[in-house]
């Protein structure tokens, strides 16, 4: 199998496992309420105006309450661990040599702390941006935060906030790929430099690609939610299977997005002197660590 195939399946497997870990205490808690004794099993949770669902929450209140904090901590942990398969995807998109599952996993793990730092930095910048836009819109007395009745001024603030947040997220992905590129030593400074060059030359193209792919993903998730809201009650295992297929497609789309970034970074690198982004003491030829393939 190709590196990209390994990366997609690896990503799917790891995130499925992490999702399972996150969901397990809650699904076990609800299962323990005894829905298997009903003729329609836990489909009952979704019927009768939610009466049985609320009853399960009431009877298991103490248990579910005790799960809240651990779930929050687990959620943060799982979100951080999930950066490893993301790094694997970025590696697969940028690697010129074929990597087996072990090599891919090892290199992805090595990149984890950089991805984690990047994620924290991005979250901080996004929070500052959203906060700043909120303050500015209050300054300009926009009509309402409610988009149903917003005027053009308010809508432009909402669009500005979302747009800036999206640009920051998009830049984060460019940096991610730049950090794991074969030809570049994984230094933030080098990755920033290359990313800036790529964004300067192909920023608009990248943003349009991101917007199109993001729209596609949102549409797929939305359609799947509509389908799943019915499907889980009638055909749970089949619906679950289709949901997993959807996850694979979403991961594939993300890989495709990383590949677009990689091409932009490659063409940006072509326009600069060889080795310019590599620290002086490190020969360009030794920038690529000797990982087993």
């Amino acid at each position: 199998m190709s590196t990209k195939t390994w990366a997609v399946f690896g990503n799917w497997l790891v995130t499925l496992f992490l999702g399972f870990v996150l969901a397990w205490p809650w699904s076990q808690g609800l299962k323990a309420q005894g829905f298997s004794q009903f003729a329609d099993g836990d489909a009952r949770l979704l019927s009768a105006g939610g009466a049985y669902f609320l009853e399960a929450l009431r009877l298991g209140f103490g248990h579910f309450q005790s799960l809240l904090l651990p779930t929050l901590v687990l959620g943060v942990g799982v979100a951080l661990v999930s950066l490893v398969p993301t790094a694997g995807l970025a590696l697969a998109a940028s690697s010129k040599q074929k990597l087996g599952p072990n090599a891919l996993a090892t290199r992805a793990v090595e990149h984890w702390w950089r991805f984690a730092l990047l994620r924290l930095g991005t979250s901080l910048v996004q929070a500052l941006l959203f906060g700043g836009v909120y303050v500015v819109q209050a300054w300009f007395r926009a009509t309402s935060a409610d988009v149903r009745q917003a005027d053009l001024r308010t809508l432009s603030f909402v669009a500005a906030g979302l747009g800036l947040g999206a640009i920051v997220g998009c830049v984060q992905d460019v940096l991610r790929v730049a950090l794991v590129r074969d030809a570049v030593s994984p230094h933030f400074s080098g990755a920033f430099g290359l990313s800036l060059r790529a964004l300067r030359s192909e920023g608009v193209k990248l943003l349009i690609s991101w917007a199109l792919l993001a729209s596609l993903c949102i549409s797929l998730v939305g359609a799947s939610a509509v389908f799943a809201s019915r499907g889980f009650a009638e055909h749970p295992s089949l619906t679950f299977g289709l949901q997993q297929l959807l996850c694979l497609i979403l991961i594939g789309i993300r890989l495709f997005w990383f590949s677009i970034i990689e091409r932009a970074l490659a063409s940006a690198q072509k326009r600069i002197k060889p080795g310019a982004l590599v620290p002086a003491e490190t020969p360009a030829s030794s920038a690529e660590p000797a990982y087993p393939s």
């Binding site: 969901a23 699904s27 005894g34 009903f38 105006g49 609320l54 999930s82 935060a145 889980f232």
Partner: protein
Amino acid sequence: MLALGWAGSGQGRPLAPATPIAPATPVVPIAPVAPIAPETPMALEAPLRVASYNLDANLDVGKHTIHATGTIHFTNRSTRALTELWFHLYLNAFKNNRSLFLRNPFALGRSGRTLSSYGYIEVHKLTSPRFGTQNLWANSAKHSPADPDDTTDISVPLPAPLEPGESLELELEFTSHLPPVLERTGYAGSFHFAGQWFPKLAKLELDGTFAHFPFHPNAEFYADFGDYDVRITAPNEFVIGATGSLVETTQRKNSTTSHFSLKGAHDFAFTAWDKFERISEKVGDVHVQLLFPAWQRENALLSLSAVRQALPNFSRRFGPYPYPTLTVVHPPEAGEGAGGMEYPSLITTGGVWFEPYLGSHAIEAVTVHELGHQWFYGLLASNESEAPFLDEGVNSYAEIGVLEDLLGVGSAFRGAGLDISIAALHRVNAAWYGGDDVVAQPARGFRGFSAMGGLVYSRTATLLLTLERVFGPEKFRAALKLYAEKFRFGHPTPDDFVTTLEKELEPSFGRALRVGLFERGWVDYRVESVASRRSLADLGLFAEGGPQSSRASAASGSKDWLGRAVVYRRGNLEIPVEIALHLKSGAVLRRKWNGQGASFVVDYTGPSELASVEVDPDLKIPLDQNLLNNSKAVTPAGESRISYILTSLAHLFVSGALP
């Protein structure tokens, strides 16, 4: 007033087609509305007028005070001579932190908030031409009976008895100092909501006693019917909304006086704010006016849409709405304590702007709940302090039916593939308090407002919903309508309610209703065991018309299946229930149990194996204390949808496909 939980039904009904919001009626900011002539109430009956108020009120928006002068026309409709009058000074609940309303730091009423400054009423003068120029207030009690710290329940001795049938003209002058909005009344910035702002005569009972009480944080109000004519003077830029119809406006250089009139009511409230926007439209014969902050326009339209459908719906169920106008006030966020409250022909709603985006129908639910109070409080003016279940409980039941007609099964929440009904919310809230305390007791008897919410609002609603489903919706609704018509413009008691309903329905209904309301009634149906096996051929020795003979072996036995389930009933409520027998073939058989006795054995013989047995499969008894022990399977079902759903959601989250 609305408690935090509302509720919905387990009965799946098709979603009512959403009524489109009418083409935007032009928003008229701060413009005076055309006066609506006070019409004769549409009701066939007229209330017995006991206390009518004619007041001139001047709102000082800077000092947040109302200075008022006027008269009260009071008639002794009782059978005894009166030697004293009793006044409720509800606003004195906010006078200091030693009032009955505020003194308990652990139970600050419904909101749980504390005050930054205080509010009170100063009565300057109370005179009557009958008694010359004597200021009757000078001899008034200094505090509520047996409570030196509370001044919300004040007696005023009369210089001479007032005989039955005699009337008294009282002239009064007072100043109300509004508190910051804590609960129902007060100000927030330039927003003012004046509820319980004037000295109000306590309800005179037929035996000549006054139903007076200090203002308890759990309690609401009780008063006689009368006519209200109130002129409110406020700065020109302020939009005024009030109980009743706007008769005329008189504009001066800096201020405008708005004259409101309402016949046959028992309270008067008004609001004033310089940032209100207004929408008006006619719903049937009723002029509906909506006042709201500009930034809440869309949510206010949700309220209007709910009123448009709920007003005729309530009228069909409980008799026509009697007043020519209805004012719906959506307070700003800072004044949210004024939201979710009812006054005759005026209701307040509320809610944060993003609630609809979360799938919540809270705004519609609050609107419908408060509108329902026009009947269960407004027209059936029961004693809210002594029997809060008669207004809040019965109204919560009424709200369930109307909201489901409006919004279908997801009447409280719709989203993420899950529909939550208002009945389900009330049910779970009712089950939370179970049979902990008696439903039909005075508001002051409940140990905190959440207990009162669970028992008075939710448990009454769930009990009535249970009785409706078990004894037949048509019969039950007809009986309730009869009650609403019989006591329209009256003051029904718990006994009036129970006897009217039980007369129309069967005796077991009356028993269940009384136990549910007065005896901490509860019930839990539970399937204890279920078993299934092949039936056996006869084995052993049998006498068949002569000497005993041995019967054939099991090999030639029957191919039928046998099944047996044991169902238990716990609790003191005996309610007839159905039991469903699910067979492996997919067929479902039904059995009935009258609910009497502690247990019931269901036997089955048939061609298919018994798979599971469920008691109350249609959820006709939402009062059932534990729904999850209602079914037992011979072999529990294997596939777990919830594991699939939660894992899928978590997977999407982890893989970054969801934010």
